[in-house]
Every structure is written in structure tokens, then in C-alpha cells.
């Protein structure tokens, strides 16, 4: 009896295995599979500037009026749903919209949709990401006719077309609450979303613009980088936009790309001994930045002299990375000490656990270098929430001198997305208060063209060489694994978006 039961059980299992599935389906033809590192908790268009959401829907499902095309060698602003735009004499901007565009629900795209999209994204009834780009100004969208819309900003915004590259367009009927079935004008529509398992985008027929080669994309999430890399290797996926350095071993499929994240130590200028510029200079001279690259950090990481990527207009190539000079750092500390600066005070180096690969080793090495140069440094690691309390105002009081190891992402193409927050006296993450820096930030933010670039460059040099605002360290790189059948190379934009229309096949 027992044997018979066992035999039936084995037969049932074998039958189940053979009928349910052979091996899992491999991606084939023009359907592709993409494996992402983070779960997608929302598919809300006004949250598409968040990288985990943006990689799925930004420009694939929901498009913008303008598009900042970030490239490793620079970037520029291109038309998307607006064909042209110009600044009016009163400082407002007029956008002429593309005609003949339809949403995936079949409705026609017009200026009313743009106004609703902007008002919805800025509404205090939902917590969209969009208002972060419009701080310190009021902006009103005014419909001129079905295909023309004005944006009036107070004060006037010279980079308003760039700011609108962050505002995704939804139909005027979209409710002012987070939606789970985004409707957009993009070349793809969401055809399936099983939370925690997969999202499928399918190419729309008759969409405006050239027809993309990818017919459908299935997104799955695997938090472990080794598994993501293995999935592309075994053919279970075609593209893993983020794998770890140690898995990037195959030159045919693994490609580095400049990450818009910049690593730095934010200094608090109001507490001794960091309030002395000689101490800040000594901190910069005490760290051997080159020693980290190719060892604890990937080979392609670049040394930073500003908090935004060197491809941004406003970068200053004349600013040089401080030379590693521990002896010089010791001399500066001795000079400061002779003038009564308490250089022996313990300075905390506060870092965030698991912020990037090898962060523990990187911070320990920095602590060692700073100690060898004569600093009294104590290293502390915090989880994200505690770290955040030191990162953003209001800062905790009576903390003594500390340096905060942090990362900043600016892939938006203009230093304005960095400078006010990080260096203005009122900036939410600023550790300094310098009237000249405030003035330069205000003037650069209001300037246009070459004058704007010149002022940002002047500010970069001033902050780096004279104020010695912080300890700028590295522009990071990421690695992507791309199946050999795909014609795609990752770029600086890959961190926040993944346009399927840019993927081809060999």
C-alpha cells in the first residue's frame, strides 16, 4: 500500500513538472526582459523622477514637454511633446505643442492636459516629486489655445524649459491622487502589473514618432546584484541596468557608465575647528583620492571638484583636485593650533550604512588617512533615517564638529539643481553661510546662456578654492550587463530612466 502511494506521488510530481512548464521562457525576438534592483512601489507619473519608477515609465509611458538628453559627453535640451518654445518679453515662456498626439486611452493631447498635469503635480493634495524642482518660485500654467500654453514664473525662470523636462504629462481626466494605471502619450503602455512580480510594457500602435524596435518589455525585480548578473548570463533577462563591480567580468556584456551620484564630505562651517579655512584645506589635502580608484572604488570613478557631473554646463575645468599632501596638512593644522584653533578636538565622520559598495572600507581608509595627517576623527555609521536627520535642516543641535559623508545626484543638466540646496545660507542641506556664495547663486540662477555658465564656473572655483566648502571626492560609475543580442549602451541617463525606444537589436 505504502509503495503504491509513493509511486502515485512520484508520478503526480513528474506529471506536474512536465505539464506545468519545461524551463522558464527565455526572452526572444523583439520582446525583452529587464531586471531591476529595486521594487517599483508606484507607477505614478508625477513620481517618475524617482529612479525606480522612472526606469519603467519615464518617456516610455509618460512623456514631458521637453527632454534633457544626458550623455556622457554633455547634454542638451530637445523637443518632446512641445515642438518649439520661446521666452516672452514679460519673462514667461510660451510652448507650442505637438499636434496629432494621442494618449494610450485614445484621447487627444492638448494644452488642457498640460495645465492639468502641472497643476496636479504641484497640488498639495498629493505628494508628488515635482515641487522639489520649483522651490522658491510660483509658476502658473495658462492655456492660450489647444496647442499653445504659457508658463508664467515669479521670479522669471531662465531654465523653465529645463524644469519642465521633469513634469510628465497625463490626461486632463486623471484624478488628483496616486494612480496605478498610468495613461500617457509615450510609445508604450502598461499592459500588466503584478505587484512584486512583473510589469509589462507593450508597444503602442500608431503612436507619434518613429516606431521603436522593442515590442514589449517585461520588468522583474531582484534585489541581489549577483542574481541580476546571472539572469542576463543565463538568458533569463536581456538587461540589468545595475550590477556590482565584482560581477562585471565579461567585457562583451558588462559596461561601465558615469553615474550622476557624487560622493563628498559635507562640512559644518559653524563649529570649531572646521570653521577655520586652514582646517578645511588640511582635510582636503589629507585624503589620497587616487588610492581609492581601482581598489575600493571602480576603475572608472572620477575625482570631483564640484557636486555635479563634469558633463554639466557650468563645470569649471580650471579647478584642480587638491594634491595629496599629508605633510602640508600637518603644517596647516600646526599653524591653526598656534592661533588657538582647537585642532585636537574630536571630529565625527558620519556615514550611511550600505550607501554604496565598499562604503565601510572607504570610510575606514579615510579615517586612517585623516588620523595620519593629525586629525582626531571618530567614524560613525548610521542607518538611512538617522543619517537623514544630519543631512537636512533643521540639523540636530549641539553635535560638536562633524563631517557628513553623503551622495548627491544631479543628472538634470544644470547646477541650479545643486547649488542652492547645498551652498546657499538658506539651502536645506547647506553647512555654510557665505554672502558672496549666496550672491553668485542668485545671479547664476537668474542668468542665461554664456553668462549663466560663466557665473556657475565662478561659483565652483570660489567654493572649491577660497571657501573650501566641503571635501569633494568622487563621481561614481555604475555597471550594466547587456545581452549580446541587444544594441544598447548605458549612459549617465541610465540611472534614472531607460528609454525602450533607444534599444535596438543586433
Amino acid at each position: 500500500m505504502g509503495k503504491r502511494i509513493l509511486a502515485w506521488g512520484a508520478a503526480a510530481i513528474l506529471a506536474g513538472l512536465s505539464t506545468t512548464a519545461a524551463m522558464p521562457a527565455r526572452a526572444a525576438g523583439t520582446d525583452i526582459r529587464i531586471v531591476l534592483p529595486e521594487d517599483v512601489d508606484l507607477l505614478e507619473p508625477c513620481m517618475a523622477t524617482r529612479s525606480n519608477i522612472g526606469r519603467v515609465i519615464f518617456q516610455n509611458v509618460n512623456e514631458t514637454l521637453t527632454e534633457y538628453q544626458a550623455r556622457d559627453d554633455g547634454g542638451d535640451l530637445q523637443p518632446r511633446l512641445a515642438e518649439t518654445w520661446e521666452q516672452q518679453p514679460d519673462g514667461s515662456w510660451r510652448f507650442h505643442l505637438r499636434q496629432g498626439v494621442t494618449f494610450s486611452d485614445g484621447s487627444a493631447f492638448d494644452a488642457g492636459d498640460v495645465k492639468h498635469s502641472f497643476d496636479r503635480a504641484m497640488s498639495d493634495q498629493i505628494s508628488c516629486e515635482t515641487p522639489r524642482y520649483f522651490g522658491g518660485m510660483t509658476v502658473e500654467a495658462v492655456v492660450v489655445d489647444d496647442h499653445t500654453i504659457d508658463f508664467r514664473a515669479d521670479p522669471a525662470q531662465p531654465i523653465l524649459p529645463l524644469l519642465l523636462s521633469m513634469v510628465t504629462i497625463v490626461p486632463a481626466e486623471t484624478p488628483v491622487e496616486f494612480v496605478r494605471d498610468p495613461v500617457g502619450t509615450g510609445p508604450y503602455a502598461v499592459s500588466e502589473w503584478t505587484p512584486g512580480q512583473r510589469i509589462v510594457l507593450t508597444r503602442r500602435e500608431g503612436c507619434w514618432g518613429a516606431e521603436p524596435q522593442v515590442t514589449s518589455a517585461t520588468y522583474v525585480v531582484r534585489p541581489d546584484p549577483a542574481v541580476r548578473a546571472a539572469m542576463v548570463q543565463t538568458g533569463e533577462a536581456d538587461l540589468a541596468p545595475s550590477i556590482s563591480l565584482i560581477d562585471a567580468t565579461n567585457p562583451a556584456t558588462d559596461f561601465p557608465y558615469l553615474d550622476p551620484e557624487t560622493v563628498y564630505l559635507r562640512l559644518m562651517h559653524d563649529v570649531a575647528p572646521i570653521n577655520d579655512v586652514r582646517v578645511r584645506k588640511a582635510l582636503n589635502m589629507a585624503i589620497d583620492r587616487e588610492a581609492f580608484i581601482g581598489t575600493l572604488l571602480p576603475e572608472g570613478a572620477q575625482l570631483a571638484v564640484a557636486l555635479f557631473p563634469p558633463t554639466t554646463a557650468g563645470s569649471n575645468p580650471a579647478v584642480q583636485v587638491p594634491a595629496y599632501d599629508p605633510e602640508g596638512a600637518r603644517q596647516l593644522l600646526a599653524e591653526a593650533k598656534a592661533d588657538g584653533v582647537p585642532v585636537d578636538t574630536e571630529i565625527r565622520l558620519i556615514a550611511r550604512t550600505a550607501q554604496y559598495p565598499n562604503v565601510t572600507e572607504v570610510m575606514e581608509a579615510m579615517q586612517q588617512m585623516l588620523t595620519e595627517a593629525g586629525f582626531n576623527v571618530k567614524l560613525q555609521f548610521y542607518e538611512v533615517a538617522e543619517h537623514e536627520s544630519f543631512y537636512t535642516k533643521p540639523y540636530p543641535k549641539d553635535q560638536g564638529p562633524y563631517m557628513l559623508a553623503a551622495m548627491h545626484d544631479n543628472s538634470r543638466g544644470d547646477p541650479a539643481f545643486t547649488m542652492y540646496f547645498k551652498y546657499d545660507s538658506e539651502g536645506l542641506q547647506s553647512g555654510m553661510a557665505d554672502p558672496k556664495a549666496n550672491d553668485l547663486i542668485a545671479r547664476a540662477s537668474a542668468a542665461t546662456g554664456d553668462e549663466r555658465v560663466r557665473l556657475w564656473q565662478e561659483l565652483v572655483a570660489y567654493l572649491h578654492d577660497e571657501v573650501v566648502a566641503d571635501v569633494l571626492l568622487f563621481h561614481m560609475v555604475g555597471y550594466a550587463r547587456v545581452a549580446e543580442r541587444l544594441d544598447f549602451r548605458p549612459s549617465i541617463a541610465t540611472n534614472g530612466q531607460l528609454q525602450l525606444s533607444q534599444i535596438g537589436f543586433h
Binding site: G16, L17, T20, A21, M23, P24, D39, D41, L42, E44, R50, D124, Q125, I126, S127, E129, P131, R132, G135, G136, E177, F178, R180, P195, G196, Q197, V220, V221, R222, P223, D224, A226, V227, A230, M231, Q233, T234, E236, E383, V384, A385, E388, S389, Y391, T392, F417, F421, L428, Q429
Partner: protein, 303 residues
């Protein structure tokens, strides 16, 4: 039996209420979720609006009052991150965890009892091999076993998918990895309990009467050895019901363990509360089943 179950239900309800109060206030002590939900460069106005929108400006006791009021209407609130009912998010994830736990524990229980009992009965080489393997299994780090399993069976041999869900094949590696530790542990317990049972007077009597080996092992000895085994099975199953975070992370299984960890780190309080209540309820039900099993196996407990 009904009185016994009623008493257990009342006791568990009191524990659950205590748990709700404790988790509500302890989770709020970690801070408010504004800083984690909004981008780091969010304006002051955005932060204020977010707090107002989600009632985070209200005094803690008022927030607790609102929560209890909603809970009495079986409304667990919405997930902050996912903008959908927290209970929906949790039950979806819990269904995966439950399947994983049921499949794994069924296989573990059957095989561990057979191997453990035979090891105790036969002794010699079989016992030594079973003991060594079960010890290795009980102490093997599951993240390591999982990655090695993927490298061997998925990348090198191409027999199994690396991760994910969808087919029977997807379950083999996660179940196999989850199987190892409880299997090792339960084999040890079964072997120990069986050795005690097999050396008892009633087994010697049965042998003297000429009863065959199989009835002695599986009818006389095993039934008496099962009480400690059931306790350990219950412990292991409870651990699996709380989620297998490592397995869920590596194999991309959308279970409740990783959901709970992520929700705690992101301060998605409603999901944390719902997840704790659902798992607590499941563990309570499992304990009831264990109590029933005790009573069935040992008439002294019934009476």
C-alpha cells in the same frame, strides 16, 4: 477541547492587542516617514504638506485613536509607499510566504521523521552519515547555499531558473535551500527522541513478542517520540511564517519577510502593523494546530 480553544483564543487576542499598542508606539519612536518618502531636496512646504496630508502633525495619541477607530472597521489604512490598502499588500505577500512555508515544512517533516527514526533504529554507518549531514544542514548559512545553488544549477548546468516565480521549476531552489536548516534540526530531534523511545520497556516488550520493525518504529516508538518533534516543527514553521528574508531577497520571492523589513526601514507604518497582525494571527492558528496534535497524540493532555 472547545473550552481549551476558547481560552487560547482569548489569551491570543489579549497578546494581539498588546502587540498592536506596542508596535504602534515603538514604530513611531523611530521618527516620521516624511524624510524617507520625500526626496532629500524636498522643500519645507512639501514636507509640511506631506505631514498634514497623512495626519503626522497630530499628537501621537490622536493618531493612535484614529488607527484604533479604523481598525475596528477592519480598515488597516493605506500603504504610504504603495498608495493602496496595507492589508491588500500584506495578504498578497503573505500568500507567497504561506505557500513557501507549507511546501517546505511538509517535505521537511516527512523526510526528517523517516531519516531520524531510521538513524535511531539502524545505528551504525547510516546513523553517523545522517547525523553528520543533518549537523551540516543545521549550521549551513542559507545565503551562501542559495548563491552556490544558483551558480551550480542555474548558471553552470542550466537546469533551473535563477530566481523568480511562475513555474514549478522556480520553486525547486528556494524550497531546497529553505529545507536544509529545519531538516537538519528536526532529524537531530527525531533521532534523539526515538533513541529514548526505542530503549523504553514497551518497545522491548514489543520486540520480545516478535513484532516487526516497521510497526515498532512508526507505531509504538514514533508516536511517543513525537511530542518534542512537534514543538520543534512548530518553532521552525513559525520562523518561516515570519518570512524568509534571505531567500526572498535572493530569489526575488515577493514574501512577507522582505516586505516587513522594507516597511520598517521606510517607516511605512500601516504595512508594518498589518504584517505583524497577519503573521501573529497565522502563528496563533498554527499553535492551535500544534495543541490539537499534542492532544491527539497524548491522551493525558486531552484529559
Amino acid at each position: 477541547m472547545l473550552t481549551f480553544l476558547r481560552k487560547r483564543a482569548v489569551g491570543s487576542l489579549i497578546s494581539l492587542i498588546g502587540l498592536v499598542v506596542l508596535v504602534f508606539f515603538l514604530s513611531r519612536l523611530t521618527g516620521d516617514p516624511t524624510a524617507l518618502f520625500l526626496p532629500v531636496d524636498a522643500t519645507v512646504e512639501m514636507r509640511e504638506q506631506f505631514r498634514a496630508l497623512h495626519g503626522l502633525n497630530d499628537p501621537l495619541l490622536v493618531q493612535f485613536g484614529h488607527y484604533v477607530r479604523d481598525l475596528l472597521h477592519l480598515d488597516f489604512g493605506d500603504s504610504l509607499r504603495k498608495a493602496r490598502p496595507a492589508i491588500e499588500v500584506v495578504t498578497e505577500a503573505f500568500a507567497w510566504t504561506l505557500q513557501l512555508a507549507l511546501i517546505t515544512m511538509s517535505i521537511v517533516t516527512i523526510l526528517a521523521i523517516i531519516i531520524g527514526a531510521l538513524a535511531a533504529w539502524r545505528g551504525g554507518l547510516f546513523d553517523r552519515v545522517a547525523s553528520i549531514l543533518s549537523l551540516i544542514g543545521a549550521s549551513a548559512p542559507d545565503f551562501w547555499v542559495a548563491i552556490v545553488g544558483i551558480v551550480i544549477f542555474s548558471v553552470s548546468l542550466g537546469w533551473l531558473p535563477t530566481s523568480g516565480t511562475g513555474t514549478v521549476w522556480h520553486w525547486i531552489l528556494p524550497v531546497a535551500v529553505l529545507f536544509i536548516r529545519p531538516f537538519g534540526l528536526i532529524v537531530q530531534v527525531v533521532r534523539g527522541a526515538m533513541m529514548t523511545a526505542l530503549s523504553s520497556a514497551y518497545v522491548k516488550t514489543a520486540r520480545a513478542k516478535g513484532v516487526r520493525a516497521r510497526p515498532i518504529i512508526f507505531v509504538h516508538a514514533l508516536r511517543n517520540a513525537m511530542l518534542p518533534v512537534i514543538t520543534v516543527i512548530g518553532d521552525q514553521a513559525a520562523a518561516l511564517l515570519n518570512g524568509a528574508v534571505v531567500i526572498e531577497t535572493i530569489f526575488g520571492f515577493p514574501g512577507v519577510g522582505k516586505l516587513m523589513i522594507d516597511s520598517i526601514l521606510q517607516r511605512d507604518f500601516n504595512v508594518v502593523m498589518a504584517a505583524i497582525m497577519v503573521t501573529a494571527l497565522a502563528i496563533f492558528l498554527m499553535n492551535v494546530l500544534i495543541d490539537i496534535a499534542y492532544a491527539l497524540l497524548d491522551p493525558r493532555i486531552r484529559h
